[in-house]
């Protein structure tokens, strides 16, 4: 008999209890973050950098905001300034500041009354980039003069 099937006198150790969340998870009833909906809920879409490294010259959200049902466009300008240490690091990863630091770095986010509308509006956010040289390994990233 395998050791994990040996019954002991313990109440739980040595037994094979069913996990308490099992029933909800095999029936599709378990609720994950994306499964929640609320009345008047807005949907978001993120505008991401197509460049590995670029200075963000200008973000023009006027065309996106002109669509009916688009409620807000946020950029780094809407975030706090002067953070340091790990909170700064988290913010820098959340949304690009002066520069986009990788292909896919979030530069803006749109909130709208539907997911499709938010995605349409995200495509209308005009970001002007000044493309900068990028590096592809750690040694180059740490080289003199890099930041």
């Amino acid at each position: 008999m395998p050791k994990d099937e040996i019954r002991s006198t313990f109440k739980y150790i040595g037994t094979r209890p069913n996990r308490p969340d099992g029933l909800d998870k095999v029936t599709g009833r378990a609720r994950y973050g994306a499964d929640y909906a609320a009345s008047n809920m807005l949907h978001a879409a993120v505008v991401r950098s197509p460049h590995a490294h670029a200075r963000i010259v200008k973000i023009d959200a006027s065309k996106a905001l002109a669509l009916k049902g688009v409620k807000a466009v946020v950029t780094r300008a809407d975030f706090p300034e002067g953070l340091t240490g790990e909170t700064w690091n988290l913010q820098e990863n959340t949304i690009a500041g002066e520069r986009a630091l990788y292909d896919g770095h979030a530069v803006a986010a749109v909130a709208a009354t539907s997911a499709l509308l938010a995605q349409d509006a995200a495509k209308l956010v005009e970001v002007t980039y000044e493309v900068l040289p990028h590096v592809t390994d750690v040694d180059a990233a740490m080289a003199e003069g890099r930041r």
């Binding site: 094979r16 069913n18 996990r19 969340d21 099992g22 029933l23 909800d24 998870k25 095999v26 029936t27 599709g28 009833r29 378990a30 609720r31 994950y32 994306a34 499964d35 909906a37 539907s114 997911a115 499709l116």
Partner: protein, 160 residues
């Protein structure tokens, strides 16, 4: 863009909804019908978390348009247990074998496994692994899933 009225059958029930022509079947199931058991893991047909059956055929519902459901019959995880709440043997064996952890991939895997066992009641381990190759799981390492499917298959054949 104007919406299209779609009339279809989900888990045996007649349903209808208004779909944007660009919405996927997964969006329609989740957002219009409130059936959130089918999950969006990738939205590109790689992960299998959105697996449902369309007229009996296993599909990734993120790669099917909602309007394509017109007049068809859809089967989702919500229709797998009996109406009285009795679990399908696959569901029961997944719990008994602890074949799930976070559970996000579980609905898709159960729908896919049920389709397998209806087509092949006595699959080999390799056949199960190949059939479920379109369903990614980042928690379990798959082994317990395979054992659970084998055990459920044996029970359904009356061999256990």
């Amino acid at each position: 863009m104007s919406k299209i009225h779609v009339t279809t059958t989900v888990n045996g029930d007649a349903v209808d909804f208004l779909a944007d022509p660009r919405e996927t079947l997964l969006d329609c199931l989740r957002d219009h019908l409130g059936l959130t058991g089918s999950k969006e893991g990738c939205g590109t047909g790689d992960c299998g978390a959105c697996s449902v059956r369309l007229d009996g055929v296993l599909v990734s519902s993120c790669l099917v348009l909602g309007v394509e459901a017109e007049g068809r019959s859809i089967e989702t995880i919500e229709g797998m247990a009996s109406p009285d709440g009795t679990l399908h043997p696959l569901q029961r064996k997944f719990i008994e074998h602890a074949a799930l952890q976070c559970g996000f991939c579980t609905p898709g895997i159960l729908v896919a496994a049920k389709a397998l066992l209806e087509e092949n009641p006595d699959p080999s381990e390799s056949e199960i692994r190949y059939w479920l190759a379109g369903n990614l799981c980042r928690c379990t390492g798959y082994d317990k899933i395979i054992r659970a499917v084998q055990d459920a298959a044996a029970e359904l054949r009356g061999a256990a």
